[in-house]
Symmetry: C2
Subunit: 692 residues, 2 copies
Amino acid sequence: MAKTETISNALPAPPSPTESIAEERRNPSFPVRELSVYLDNGPEAAAYKEKVMFQLERDPLWKMDNTPDLTLPQVRERTMAKVQNLVHFLETESIEKFRMRMTVLSVVDPAFWTRFGVHYGLFLGAVQGQATPEQFAYWVKKGAVNLKGMVGCFGMTELGHGSNVAGLETTATFDEKTDEFVIHTPTLTATKWWIGGAAHSATHCAVYAQLIVKGKRYGAKTFVVPLRNPEDYSLLPGVAIGDIGKKMGRDGIDNGWIQFTHVRIPRSYMLMKHTKVTRTGEVEEPPMAQLAYGALIHGRVSMVLDSGNMSKKALTIAVRYAAVRRQFAERPGQPETKLLDYPIHQYRLLPLLAQAYALSFTGMEMERLYNNLLKQLEKVQKGATLSETLAILKETHATSAGLKAFGTWNCLHTIEQCRQTLGGHGYSAYTGLSSMYQDFAVQCTWEGDNTILTLQCGRYLVSSLCDHIKGKPLAKNVQYLARATTPIQQSALKTSEALIQLDVLQDAWAAVAASAVDRATKVFQTALASGITKDMAYEQCSPQRLQATKMHCYYFVISRFIDGIARASPATQPILTKLCLLYATYSMQENAGEFLQAGYFDGAQIAVIRDAVIQLLRDLRQDAVPLVDAFNYTDFVINSPLGRYDGNVYEAYFNLVRANNPKTNDIPYVDRVIKPLLQRQSSQDEGPELDF
Amino acid sequence: MAKTETISNALPAPPSPTESIAEERRNPSFPVRELSVYLDNGPEAAAYKEKVMFQLERDPLWKMDNTPDLTLPQVRERTMAKVQNLVHFLETESIEKFRMRMTVLSVVDPAFWTRFGVHYGLFLGAVQGQATPEQFAYWVKKGAVNLKGMVGCFGMTELGHGSNVAGLETTATFDEKTDEFVIHTPTLTATKWWIGGAAHSATHCAVYAQLIVKGKRYGAKTFVVPLRNPEDYSLLPGVAIGDIGKKMGRDGIDNGWIQFTHVRIPRSYMLMKHTKVTRTGEVEEPPMAQLAYGALIHGRVSMVLDSGNMSKKALTIAVRYAAVRRQFAERPGQPETKLLDYPIHQYRLLPLLAQAYALSFTGMEMERLYNNLLKQLEKVQKGATLSETLAILKETHATSAGLKAFGTWNCLHTIEQCRQTLGGHGYSAYTGLSSMYQDFAVQCTWEGDNTILTLQCGRYLVSSLCDHIKGKPLAKNVQYLARATTPIQQSALKTSEALIQLDVLQDAWAAVAASAVDRATKVFQTALASGITKDMAYEQCSPQRLQATKMHCYYFVISRFIDGIARASPATQPILTKLCLLYATYSMQENAGEFLQAGYFDGAQIAVIRDAVIQLLRDLRQDAVPLVDAFNYTDFVINSPLGRYDGNVYEAYFNLVRANNPKTNDIPYVDRVIKPLLQRQSSQDEGPELDF
């Protein structure tokens, strides 16, 4: 559109969008770059992230702003071409740098991340974690590490079976005569389902199947099963594969279903690091089957990180737009007010911004915990170290399970809230948040359904408290449960000055989280005392376990935020402290019932907390835009005209919509449907005349 | 797939899906059909609903289960063909029956409902509400009522302007010389945006533009502006239209943008029921401008109804699937347990089921309120009746605004929760809930952004309380605010028997809702006393207003549920009472902080409420499937293989995925992308040799 025409009776022009956002950056209360570098793990990592973003932006293959209009085959092809493109970096970069690259890519294109991750995280992870060294060497030689000659997929879930791996129906029956396993799908519900990569790209699958030797079942084990001939991609005999088709999001990944009909594989294709089957059909079971699952934790750790990163992306869009968009004037004739200046808009967005910071520090901590676990797993020796390792494994499993659910649920909530703050524009496919929701939603279900993971963490909390009551020591992250054994004391602090302090709030969260775990534990113990099984008693207390885990996660996340502030530079500590105070008080207000019911605070203290939230929002208002700038994502990564750094949102949005929908007034069905409707003649047929 | 093979080492087969659901229907505690007929507004209406569902199911045009794989042009064409198809019923059916038909259609195909509704609800509603009788007759003659010769769209929102209608930039300048208005889009942000029907189907638009006469601005008024020649669908001079393109959902509706460049229309195309412009440019403004907005309330009333109906559809899928899906066995060797038998699954779904019932009764009440308002508007006389009418208008506006937001937010939440209870299958485009989420999400934003509407209702509540303090009478729906003026007394009831009664819970909600409004009012009054304007004082208390409205809506919805029970047959009252108790206690538990902080309940009383929730869930478990059966939607309307009446979910799901993705192992880009990746040669070029 041409320049705005001047008409005599026009109202005074409002400040331009670019000016509106520029003024937000004039007086940040903190050094933006310094905070940014800290969040990005130091100057070297930050520089590398920037290099990757710059590279991607220039590569036409990574163009993202026209994806809403691609067909399913187009988006699948483009995603696979990205896999092909990335192999260069996989082969030439250090693992650390490649991981950083993948972290950027996960924010740029979640479907791509999944497609690549299915091979690297799931297939290769399974092989690495469950193969003997010789077996692993074999698959490396076949091309599993550098995607040459083979592409893997991960065949765990079935049409009728998800979370309960022990209930899988696919069978792997050992045939002693031929030294082979026979892989078979006995029923419709045993069909492998949702298998990412199966529909189009995979040549091999890590199949979870019931091991049957000499008529005896040994539970679900993992087998590498060839699916297609890597030369011509024809299906191998006995393998039937179909496309799962359209999904809510992540259409770039080719999920498929697989049915095996008596497919034979060599015995050596069973991954035998833990359970072994000998030539004569002897089955050696491992002393600690749980050790096989250590590798699965990594996916959950990634999802906590991803929850932080996706929250950052969503908030960058929502906060920048709120600094540009104006609505209603304070007085007639004045320019309209920025959304960000409304108390209600601060109330909607800034607690989520604080949460995005909180999740980032939790993500960093999860990586540390995970690396620690890996080191521990490497040095496993029989005897003393094994029980120590199992304790660490158990703690890391429970913590990552609870936080995967907590992080992904809260991130999904953040995306939707940010989407709604864009008003009608949030419903467009071109403004970023609708597709982000659709892509992210699956994180609440896959690699452990959130409800089930939350309950697993809750089971750990309840059993930890039960053990503690019996005198056993508490693991590091649940030390606070010791408080559950003494009655809760109401806090003696009354004033805002006394209450609104990080250590005070942290302590309050510890007390109330412990009390929530205590409540779940009491329901559990009562149920158990009624004579039912332990598992059934756990089911009885599941609503309370769910709640206890939520409170535990708040305490964990706030504690890691406080640790992160302690490690930060002095210049960035004040702003981080404000954010942490906001997060701790806002989440307290949202869970006021817990604090009141536990008797830790009374109504007057909660009123002080509520007032503090409002005060902190006002205080953080001026830094809102600098705080999302500090997330350090380029416009390319943000991929939303409404989240542009320069604030020129309307022009960019209009141009993008036009570029993706170039045909003006081309109505393909106007002759077939519209004209016949508008130009129809009424012809109510009365039928032949009757004279009786 | 062929019949399940019998293999010697197979586990005992679990009960079949169809048997699993059949057993749920053996002993309902209530007469299902009787409840169903009551929910459907009596036997005649229920029979008509069934007739419509039956008709649709047989008509190939209404086939819905392959929509996920249609392209944007295909889905738009199919939707328009449905419009064409529906005109027959519009011309031959009574208005009441046609409305019932539309209610069914809104659940079957929300995009169609919108496309049809843009013309009938918005365009025709605007013309009907704002035209003089002569003008209305003119547009009827042109074909506006029976879609013959013209199709209308509704041009209110602009790229830069949504909720603030007064801030619209499009101008309508009166040219006295020619007796015409000049419609003009002066800036990019003035571009009409999101206009449903504009991209493809509309010939006319009800344009909201700033009326300018003799250089003076009179605010936004409505003008009918021709867009296209109805003969050949070419754009008229000065009209530029483009396609808004892909959205999060509802792709069947062709949203577009429109720019007017000095487009001339006759003076008589301005709708002049309220404001009039004479031949000589005299402007007569109406005594009560608010009366023009009465018609806009209808959309909100529909959305409350729609929230109830969509919740019913979502829950039918989730509850039936939970009665079939099995996961984890209680003991090894036993069949796996139904999801519905897990306390946590009851906890996730049954409160939402109770809420769906609650929203239904609120929807019915909203219709009654609205019809009452229409009657009142018809008999408006100057003087005494006018102020009475305005009071009713104000109350109906505030109530419908608050409940539109409350209903649509809660319905969206229900859809997402139901989607997540399907596990991974909820992410498929073929199981119903992902597209339902995408289609429904816009309801939280359009025809009044939910946050803004909630605040408007909150403003009404605060101003009602302020008026009451000054001695003015309270309107019917806010009588309970009288309680805000006396200090709250803690309930004396302690036992479950005493507390878990409908009248007790209703009274508790009234007390605590009044206290929340009181809190908002105090913040408002304090802000006002500090010397700022009334509008700014309202902004200051907006977080409290938001919360107050939420509590008000709970009280309203619970009260209407209780009224609905009183009107129900004796045989259906017990089950409705249980549902209402669950809804009232569960929402109390979710808002425990409010009840505790207000001092109405203490921690022990809240513990009684929490226990009651668990007890009610256990009690309602056996009726879960009959309770969704009572919603009386056919499999065609439910449109999800997982929500089938007969429980045969896996076969139906597998067949549907296969039917929509028939090409097995057809990988369009295998030669372009996959083979080059797998078969590549490593050729790290070392460069020419250097001897220095």
